[in-house]
């Protein structure tokens, strides 16, 4: 297979509140930034991830083309998924296409609606959505089931949140959130989840440039080579799967070769999800998890999964890790999962 690497990563200074920017205004500086970083004005392929339901209007990806500067016309595609899957599509294109570079981006503005209620519209419209259950309530069911099976306590979840928030405060792009317990009344959001166990509402965008072979070496001193990437789904209905385990992540991790990574950026939007994902990927205590602060410190929808890959790649770029993993998730209760393994050394 062709050698393909993440050669550049940029993200917005994510915001926990509406800054009055339209999605394209949020995205434009990120695209400009990655063009400056790589010195590239055009790319062999462009692919993005976004979601109409966040904007409440069709074709949210169409105006984004204005930020990209799609002229002369570009070879371009879009997934209605987290942009991590756009990266997957671009990786496939680089495997067989007559191209050497690809631009991938994702953006989301969760502040303009009630995210947990909007995500109810993602559920099975015949059997599940009519019950009115929202995203956080579903996650709470999963957390409860996981805690019962594993013996994990609320304090274990709190420890995940505390570590994530502490790391996030060191990340200039993340929200800077207080120590769990500071400024909240200690109550639940939806039991057993406390407010700090739930990823914050975040507006933001991110972009990655992929390049193949010598082009990657030319664009980046230490490319983060994709040595394995795979994604899997589970069944949708919470009643027909084991919510306490993430089989999709386990399979994707095995296919992508997750064993032996030093750093893992996991797209856990709830504290307990990190524990489920660690188990599915077989990550030991020696693996550094979410040094960026993870989604619990900044969760711009449709970009947060891509950011995990970007943050993992950044650890390779700066030489602090030789093997790192980025994970992305989509759908209720970790239904779909993608694992991307990056290395300072290309395969073979």
């Amino acid at each position: 297979m062709r050698e393909i690497a993440v050669v550049a990563f940029t993200q917005s200074h994510h915001s926990g509140e509406d800054l009055g920017l339209a999605e394209i205004e949020m995205l434009a500086p990120v695209i400009t930034g990655i063009k400056e970083k790589t010195g590239l004005k055009q790319f062999g392929f462009t692919c993005s991830g976004s979601c109409d339901y966040l904007a409440g209007a069709p074709f949210s990806f169409v105006s984004a083309l204005d930020a990209v500067g799609a002229w002369p016309p570009i070879s371009e595609s879009h997934v209605e998924m987290d942009a991590a899957w756009a990266l997957y599509e671009a990786w496939v294109k680089l495997l067989h296409g007559e191209i050497d570079t690809a631009l991938v981006y994702g953006f989301g503005k969760s502040s303009q609606g009630e995210l947990r209620t909007i995500l109810t519209q993602q559920l099975d419209p015949y059997h599940l959505a009519p019950l009115g259950i929202d995203q956080v309530s579903l996650a709470a069911l999963q957390a409860r089931a996981y805690m019962e099976r594993s013996g994990a306590k609320e304090d274990d979840l709190r420890a995940v949140a505390a570590r994530s928030r502490a790391s996030g405060r060191d990340n200039p792009f993340a929200l800077h959130l207080p120590e769990p317990g500071d400024g909240d009344d200690g109550g639940y959001d939806v039991a057993p989840l406390h407010p700090y166990d739930v990823a914050p509402i975040t507006d933001g965008a991110a972009a990655i440039v992929l390049a193949a072979g010598d082009k990657a070496r030319e664009l980046c001193e230490r490319p983060a080579w994709i040595t394995g990437i795979d994604h899997r789904t589970e069944a949708h209905a919470p009643g027909v799967r084991d919510l306490t385990r993430s089989d999709a992540t386990r399979i994707a991790g095995e296919k992508a070769g997750a064993a032996g990574v030093e750093v893992a950026e996991l797209h856990a939007q709830f504290s307990h999800e990190e524990l489920i994902l660690r188990e599915a990927l077989g990550l030991g205590d020696d693996v550094t998890v979410n040094p960026s602060g993870g989604a619990l410190s900044a969760n711009p929808m449709m970009a947060a999964g891509l950011i995990r890959i970007g943050e993992a790649a950044a650890r390779i770029h700066d030489g602090t890790a030789s093997r790192a993993l980025g994970h992305a998730s989509s759908g209720p209760c970790l239904q779909q999962n993608l694992v991307c393994v990056l290395s300072g050394e290309a395969n073979e």
Partner: protein
């Protein structure tokens, strides 16, 4: 570097205004199972699923592939969802083909669909963000001025659109899956229908349909075991450009010309009218046939309407366009592009039934979307490239 990719299975649902007999999952499975049957495979044989559809507001379900994953046999497998506006059915097929061409998988199921009866597409297309005001109602409101610009630019007489409306509906009478079947369709009948968006009359526009289309794409090894003849992918291309900027030719967009040039180069075609045997082209409003004839290089500028008028694109013409009846006869929006791609494959496999173009060996599938700014095309042939 690119591995050969073949279409070894095609499945379509009956296209209807309302498919109240099936759920969304049932609709997709109807197409997918027919494609699997055609390929001589079962769900277990599939490595990955690629789903495409137009905006989620058309059904009112956000990212519906999450709840459809199990019905599509994707549990434990990769599934992804493509959305590139009206071109999405074509783009989805191209993304699925990439998985074979890149050597990632051996057999990929791809499905595109729309169940328009769940919602109201014209409304879904008209709503806009609070920051911008929609100046038009629906797709017809957007495209009618472009058609008028074309007529003036090309000096086309008023009746050309009606010829396409009649020709495509006559073709549809020979397609078992087509939505609009109007026995005795005639120019007088088209002319007698109300003017919706000048110069588009009621019978010059596409219907709103429920429906799904599926294909099984396979590597060379997997294609050898297929019971029916394969259609080989000779080239794929996608192009996008912004919807609006000063100087943009939105009547004959550069993106369409570039995508066509790219796909012809890959397939080794220099004269599409002569070297292709038929084409399934995204014509949702009658006038888009002459407009795309020019944009796709089947003739010179301002010559498209003359080809249509001379009958070149009819079933007995030298380059039949839309033998299936096209988008004018069936329009499950998100699937409409994939239907073009699949019908092109059926033609070169010799499996197009009563609307088969005799001896077709190479065919173009075409889709476009947004403000005529997203393009997806492929060329398939009966010979392995």
């Amino acid at each position: 570097m690119s591995n050969p990719c073949a279409v070894i299975g095609v499945g379509q649902t009956a296209y209807r205004t309302k498919r109240l007999d099936v759920s969304m999952a049932g609709l997709l499975r109807e197409a997918a199972r027919r494609a699997l049957d055609d390929a001589g495979l079962t769900w277990k044989d599939i490595d990955a699923v690629v789903v495409g559809k137009a905006p989620d507001l058309f059904e009112g379900v956000m990212m519906p592939e999450t709840f459809l994953a199990e019905a599509l046999g994707a549990k434990g497998k990769p599934i992804m969802r493509v959305h590139t506006a009206g071109s999405v059915g074509g783009s989805t097929a191209i993304v699925a083909a990439g998985l074979i061409q890149g050597g990632v998988h051996q057999r990929v199921l791809t499905v595109a669909w729309e169940k328009q009866s769940e919602s109201n597409a014209t409304w879904a297309l008209t709503v806009n963000s609070p920051f911008t005001t929609s100046l038009v109602v629906g797709a017809g409101g957007y495209f009618a001025p472009h058609i008028r610009a074309y007529m003036r630019r090309a000096g086309a007489p008023d009746h050309i659109g009606m010829l396409v409306a009649v020709k495509d509906r006559e073709n549809a009478l020979r397609n078992q899956y087509a939505h609009l079947k109007i026995p005795g369709i005639s120019r007088e009948m088209v002319e007698s229908t109300p003017m919706l968006w000048e110069p588009i009359r009621y019978l010059e526009t596409c219907p709103s349909s429920d429906g799904a289309c599926a294909m099984v794409l396979a590597s060379e090894d997997a294609a050898k075991k297929a019971p029916n003849p394969p259609a080989w992918v000779h080239g794929t291309s996608m192009r996008s450009e912004p919807m609006m900027f000063a100087g943009r030719d939105s009547v004959s967009p550069q993106g369409g010309k570039d995508a066509a040039a790219d796909v012809y180069r890959q397939a080794g075609i220099s004269d599409p009218r002569r070297e292709l045997d038929c084409a399934e082209v995204y014509v949702p409003f009658s006038w888009y046939e002459p407009m795309w004839l020019e944009n796709l290089g089947f003739c010179g500028e301002s010559e498209g309407w003359k080809l249509t008028e001379a009958g070149a694109t009819a079933m007995d013409g030298d380059i039949p366009w839309n033998p299936s009846g096209g988008v004018l006869s069936s329009n499950p929006i998100g699937a409409s592009g994939m239907i073009r791609f699949a019908e092109a494959a059926l033609q070169v496999r010799g499996q197009a039934g009563d609307h088969q173009v005799d001896g077709a060996r190479r065919a173009l599938g075409h889709a476009y979307g947004g403000g005529a700014q997203f393009f997806a095309m492929w060329i398939v042939g009966s010979d392995k490239p």
